[in-house]
């Protein structure tokens, strides 16, 4: 049976990346635990209640936060609502198609949401306008503009940066605008498994040949608040703890150096 040329190129790429990683190097010259250059531009869309543009290497993501009034969920009448959505815009990659959210964009949104929700970053209980009737709803919308690997970290750092800037538009109901009440700052960092090596913040070429990825969100105390293993390969327990260590380390750095918190 003939293989398509894509398959052959893919095989060669994978072989090459696995070979250089077994010798301790990466395709773009980074160290295994090195995150690409990260630039966060807060308040990119002033019309939104909060926003941030993130460039992680050549990956570019824009996150907007809108905060509107809404009805609370019946089972949490005294709590605001957080909802996260992600769009893989067709402009961002030749492999993205327009249309309803697919499993990749749903996973992306849910993993980003999990890091923010489980860390209790936002004090949702203070977002009640009228008990049981009216609460503030925080919408996080992730727009992927340019895809060069590791959307999870770019989107999640973007969401955190946008929330840090966000204001609750209480002037719309005759009160004063207040900053969104923030309790913690979770940072999610992803490692990818290439051959038998684990590399932090995979670029697109690495992501394409990775057998597994593991995303770990930690808070400022170094506790783990959310995790997600992805792709159709396995990891060992040692690799998991290596990924956790990398996440704690990179998280500390990003909190201090990039978000200045």
């Amino acid at each position: 049976m003939s293989k398509s040329s894509d398959e052959i190129v893919y095989g060669l790429k994978r072989e090459y990346l696995e070979k250089i990683s077994s010798q301790g190097s990466r395709i773009d010259g980074r160290k295994f635990d090195e995150v690409r250059n990260l630039v966060v531009t807060p308040n990119f869309v002033p019309r939104a209640e909060g926003s941030a543009e993130v460039r992680l290497g050549d990956t570019r993501v824009l996150v907007g936060v809108k905060i509107e009034q809404g009805e609370p969920f019946p089972d949490t009448p005294n709590s605001g609502i957080l909802t996260t959505n992600a769009e893989l815009l067709p402009m961002a990659s030749p492999t993205f198609e327009s249309g309803p959210p697919n499993e990749d964009s749903i996973e992306l949104a849910r993993v980003v949401d999990r890091g923010i929700r489980e860390s209790k970053m936002i004090d949702l209980d203070s977002l009640v306008i009228e008990e049981g009737k009216k609460v503030w709803v925080v919408f996080i919308d992730i727009h992927v503009l340019d895809y060069d690997g590791n959307l999870i970290d770019a989107a999640s750092i973007g969401a955190v940066a946008a929330l840090l800037e966000a204001k609750v538009p209480a002037s719309k109901i005759g009160r004063e605008d207040i900053p969104l009440p923030i309790r913690h700052i979770p940072i999610m960092i992803t490692s990818a498994k290439i051959g038998s090596s684990l590399v932090v913040d995979p670029c697109l070429e690495e992501e394409e040949v990775a057998s597994a990825r593991i995303s770990v969100a930690t808070n400022e105390e170094g506790n783990v608040v959310a995790m997600q293993k992805g792709l159709a390969g396995s990891i060992t327990e040692e690799e998991l703890f290596l990924a956790i260590e990398s996440s704690i380390k990179a998280g500390k750095d990003i909190r201090k150096r990039v978000l200045r918190k």
Binding site: E118, M227, Q228, G230, G233
Partner: protein, 247 residues
């Protein structure tokens, strides 16, 4: 994790609300070959969970563009029945189901020799008939058994068990109340023969030491459940043997 509450989940004697010890599993029962038309099937009861799994394939992948010229694709579909939960769930796949289907499919792909069946799909249909926390792992555990029942070659059967944290203590196999009011939930699945982790998710708040304890507990439980999977398969095929002898 759900909303925090003052609900006490562990009593003075160290027992949980359903009377279990911290490292005790809920009762598990697995049955093989429970559906007529499917190529393979299995049914699992795990605490209050009731999950039915059917496997079809390997068969020609459809639509055609999904075909992979070098291996089979695994198409897992996790679905909750509308009546499986307290408040009726709107039928059809929601975002949670799409994500769970994805991670279950990826976990099974770690074990199945997909390269033996190019251009085909192996369809795994997981129906949660009654949900009581831990449905994704119950479904995945039953799905592995159904794949064997369908005669699909694998490295080993994937098996898992969740652990978590309630009242500040690491415990095995959360039930519904513990999942809702606990502090962390950590579903894990492994390939017992190689000790690889093939599914891992986590939400809540745990230290590294707590995670390590939880993973150890889950892995130990998974090995026990792995035996239940094998016993269930043996029970079916031994049963068939004796039926034949009787004829």
């Amino acid at each position: 994790m759900g909303t925090q509450s003052s609900m006490k989940l562990i009593n003075e004697e160290g027992l949980r609300i359903d009377g279990r010890k911290f490292n005790e599993l809920r009762p598990i029962r697995i049955e093989v070959g429970v559906l007529n038309r499917a190529d393979g099937s299995a049914y699992i009861e795990w605490g209050g969970n009731k999950v039915l799994v059917a496997v079809y394939g390997p068969r020609e992948a459809f639509p055609k563009h999904t075909q992979n010229p070098s291996r089979a694709i695994i198409n897992a579909r996790y679905n909750m029945a509308a009546f499986s939960v307290d408040e009726r769930k709107r039928p059809g796949p929601d975002r949670r189901a799409v994500e769970i289907s994805k991670v279950i499919g990826e976990a099974l792909e770690c074990a199945v020799f997909t390269e033996q069946f190019p251009r085909t799909s192996i369809d795994v249909y997981i129906e949660v008939l009654q949900a009581d926390a831990g449905t994704r792992i119950a479904g995945l555990t039953a799905a592995s058994v159904a794949l064997v029942d369908a005669g699909i070659p694998m490295k080993d059967m994937v098996v898992g068990c969740a652990s978590g944290k309630i009242d500040g203590k690491v415990v095995l196999d959360l039930n519904k109340e513990e999942d809702n009011f606990g502090e962390a939930d950590l579903p894990i699945a492994i390939i017992p023969r190689t000790n690889e982790i093939v599914l891992l998710q986590m939400d809540g708040n745990m230290t590294k030491d707590e995670l390590s304890e939880a993973i150890g507990m889950s892995k130990k439980a998974a090995l026990y459940i792995s035996n239940l999977q094998k016993e269930a398969l043996l029970a079916k095929y031994k049963g068939q043997e004796s039926e034949k002898e009787g004829e």
